[in-house]
Amino acid sequence: MNATELVFQALGTAVVVSPLILVAILGLSALVGRALSETTISRLTQASVLFSLMPAIGILAMMLILGTRYVPIEWGDWVSIPEQDFHFHVKFVFDRLSVPFVILSCVLCGVVGAFTRRYLHREDGYSRFFLYYAMFFTGMVMSSLAGTIETLFVGWEMVGLSSALLVAYFDQRENPVRSGQRVWSIYRLSDAAFLIAAISIHHMTGEGDFGGLMSSGIWPEGTAAVTPQQALFVGALLLVAAAGKSALFPFSGWLPRAMEGPTPSSAIFYGALSVHLGVYLLLRVSPLLDVSTTLRVMVVTLGVVSAGCGALMSRVQHDVKVSLAYASLTQVGIIVVEIGLGLHYLALVHIIGHACMRTMQLLRAPTLLRDYQNMENAMGSRLPAGKSRLAKWMPNSIEQWCYRFGFDRGFMDTALDQWIVHPFVFLFQKFDSWERATTDWMSHEPSRESDATKLHPESTRKTA
């Protein structure tokens, strides 16, 4: 290893290790019950972001100076069974896709972290917020730089968990918690598709390395070393995973619910980074699209449908954050179309631009409402609402249907509940009643003591 490689290795390691250290510090303090002060927590977070951002910028500068387009950071095998050809390889890659994305992640996490320091000042769950935030930051950095599908999956899972927990941040109220549960459920099912895809890639190429999947060239010029059928199979699974994470059709129902969390996390997750992680995944495996035309058509179609739904839904929401979230969905849908059409760099620039703009919009949203109220108070009337040209020419029945479609959020949640959740619950409740009947019959008496469980025994002021 020469001096240049050594510097790359040190800087690359620093980018990944810095957020891991932050998670370890905040996690341990929470586990042992030693609370840190607000100042300490926010400073640690800022330092962690800085120690990730600076080495990342350093690597970018070195890559530009040396003309390098691909810098692998090898950590070796985390787990390996050589006799069975099983390797869980930990590898991070700095290339034209990962470097902009990791720098974007660091910048936005730093900005939102600084904003949150004031926003959540003296809030009860301040340290809890920053612990989940650190987990999210770690997940984003790992996902951005992942050189293998398994490493990407690790980061992906961390982002998912932190997302669900932050949606349920205001845990004294039921609605945010129910929303967090909903988000987690969608994530788990889409993550299942991701996991199957990851293992399938393992079986196809003998390794999880993206370099193995794209056997020639580096992003975006790689050519996938798989057959069209394999590309379609894995690509479809990854598309489901991306749709779940980025709230694309038909998984858009969780997006407005996710706005139940605090504004900073809404901004960073659903305006900037988490919502783009799905499309980042599609960008990363975009060479698969060159192999299978069917997959390409699926991607474009999904993007168009999602963008259309997002546009309709964002126009009729009465909550500013939800409206912005659906506007994000529209843009994400357009980005997916760009990826489907092979416009990789345009998609990347679009992601960066959109993430920055949407973050600012979401952070500004709470004060914007107050400004509007001040203006209306000064005018003594409501602000005039404009009507688009298209709406002037649109038949009334279609306009009403579009309004209903948008207001009911595309009927996606209703459909999901009616066709999946309710039948599932009904079926298993039926099984449960059969079990009860069987155990009652075998016992010759009512067999379940749990039926007598009180709803809130903690409020009875008695010991157990």
Binding site: A30, Q84, H203, G217, T227, F424, A452
Partner: protein
């Protein structure tokens, strides 16, 4: 066969037994909990000592130094091998954390004597290979639970019915196997009986009702101790795997897989925490059996890793629920309890153990679950898919329980809700193991892979297991240093996919080609 430097096994079996006698007849009731903790801690130390001693020997199997039992009966009764070396500390750990997390107010309900006797039986079980002794120990393990149900004046019909069937099938099956021999063409009959016995003990649907009933009627601690060491899986490993043909194992794997998905779904609709935990455990335990029964080296390794992770994480998950139950009685999942403010440590631990049980990254279960799914996909992709779906359902269930118990409007209580020192110690111990095993998984995986190879070797010795769709793959097993170990078999068993009618020599029988690739 190697020899340990100390009678670790016999001592670790004897210590809790003597401790049980002491606590039952001589101990001051005020100090009995402290003494039980000390006895359990000493037992854990002995099993850890045995593990370290065994690992340093570098052999497949070893017996005690100065083995009294062997000398009395002129045969090797207790033998530790690659398969059981890690299970002994796991069993001791489960008992220690359960005793640690028991409140004194529960003394009239939770019998320390019974707990220590159970520990002794469990350690003896894990120190036994397939023999009449193992049959007797598996039978004896059911007695303390039965006695507790009787003492609590609960209906024992369901438990007795299932456990009688288990013991009957086990005894008859083993007796028939002694008569026919494991290489005979008639081995299928005793094999079927032993399999049925092991499946009952493992709670595979539809013979799982005893397990939900046990969680309903016994103390939570006793139920945890009876199920979490996965004694049923141990019975499968000792009695069934060495003699069962591949097609039979695949059939059992389908049953286990069905149970995993079914229990995962059932855990989601439960309205009470114990029942939810029971189904969650059942789902995860069934995944272990799936891995054991697909009999590929990767799948077996995954199953053995998941066994340890499930034992650790779900014990932690269970004792957390038990700690909460000890304070507020049974926990309804129909509404939110808002306990996060009052017990933040237990809330964090609940989430950690729950996530570890479903194989979340950086926890002890992650790599095991990856290996298990990888091994399952190798045999038949749909099996891998179902494993992933079962894990996803369990994941949703864990988070649902977390939200219901720890979030919502906090209530003011008169009793102290924070974790006591002994509970904190239990939490920290398990947390260190769960996270440590997640961050540094290689030693555990390597050891489990050796054990998986040993299982494959045992199957190789029996011609009955290598008929009907079994091919051999050359595997050069090596020790950690990379040097070939002459004690390993150089073959392992790979199953054909069901759609192939004749053996092939592909190591990965799924339709996905393995493509040669180059680094950029």
């Amino acid at each position: 066969m190697g020899e340990l430097h100390f009678p670790w096994m016999e001592t670790s079996i004897l210590v809790p037994l003597v401790g049980a006698v002491w606590i039952r007849f001589f101990a001051n009731p005020d100090n009995s909990f402290r003494q039980a903790i000390a006895i359990s801690a000493l037992t854990l130390a002995l099993t850890v000592g045995e593990l370290i001693d065994f690992v340093t020997l570098g052999t497949f199997a070893a017996h005690d130094h100065w083995a009294l039992i062997d000398w009395l009966f002129h045969q090797e009764v207790f033998v530790v091998d690659e398969l059981s070396a890690f299970l002994l500390p796991l069993g001791a750990l489960i008992h220690l954390v359960t005793v640690l997390s028991t409140l004194r107010t529960k003394a009239p309900r939770f019998s320390l004597t019974s707990c220590l006797v159970s520990e002794s039986i469990l350690l003896a079980t894990f120190s036994c290979r397939a023999s009449w002794t193992l049959v007797a120990l598996l039978t004896a393990a059911t007695v303390p639970v039965y006695l507790e149900l009787r003492r609590r004046r609960r209906c024992t019909r369901i438990f007795v019915f299932h456990m009688s069937a288990f013991v009957g099938l086990l005894v008859v099956g083993w007796a028939m196997l002694q008569y026919t021999g494991s290489s005979s063409e008639y081995v299928l009959i005793p094999g079927a009986l032993l399999t049925a016995a092991a499946l009952i003990r493992s709670g595979i649907a539809p013979v799982h009702l005893w397990m939900t009933d046990l969680f309903e009627k016994s103390t939570f601690g006793t139920a945890i101790l009876f199920v979490t060491p996965l004694t049923g899986a141990y019975a499968v490993m000792r009695f069934v795997l060495p003699i069962a043909p591949a097609w039979a194992l695949q059939s059992i794997a389908v049953l286990s897989l069905t149970t995993a998905v079914y229990a995962g779904g059932m855990s989601l609709i439960q309205k009470e925490a114990r029942r939810m935990f029971c189904f969650l455990f059942l789902s995860q335990a069934s995944l272990v059996l799936v891995g054991l029964e697909i009999v590929t080296p990767i799948g077996l390794t995954g199953a053995l890793c998941v066994w340890l992770s499930v034992g650790m994480s779900l014990t932690g998950f269970g004792i957390t629920l038990r700690c909460i139950e000890a304070r507020i009685s049974r926990i309804s999942l129909a509404d939110f309890h808002g306990l996060n403010r009052q017990m933040p440590t237990l809330a964090g631990f609940f989430l950690l153990t729950g996530l570890a049980s479903i194989g979340f990254p950086f926890t002890v279960g992650f790599v095991g679950m990856e290996l298990l799914i990888d091994g399952a996909v190798e045999v038949y992709p749909i099996v891998g898919t179902m494993v992933v779906i079962a894990a996803a359902l369990c994941g949703i269930s864990v988070m649902l329980a977390y939200f219901r118990i720890f979030t919502g409007q906090a209530k003011t209580t008169l009793i102290p809700m924070h974790a006591r020192m002994s509970e904190r110690i239990a939490v920290v111990m398990l947390s260190v193991l769960i996270i440590g095993g997640g961050l540094v998984p290689q030693p555990g995986v390597a050891s489990r892979y050796h054990a998986a190879n040993e299982l494959s070797q045992q199957r190789q010795l029996n011609p009955m297991t290598t008929v009907n769709g079994v091919v051999h793959e050359h595997v050069t097993a090596a020790d950690d240093a990379g040097a070939p170990d002459p004690t390993f078999s150089n073959e392992s068993v790979i199953l054909n996919p069901p759609d192939q009618s004749h053996p092939t020599n592909h190591t990965r029988p799924i339709t996905l080609d393995r493509l040669k690739t180059t680094q950029p």
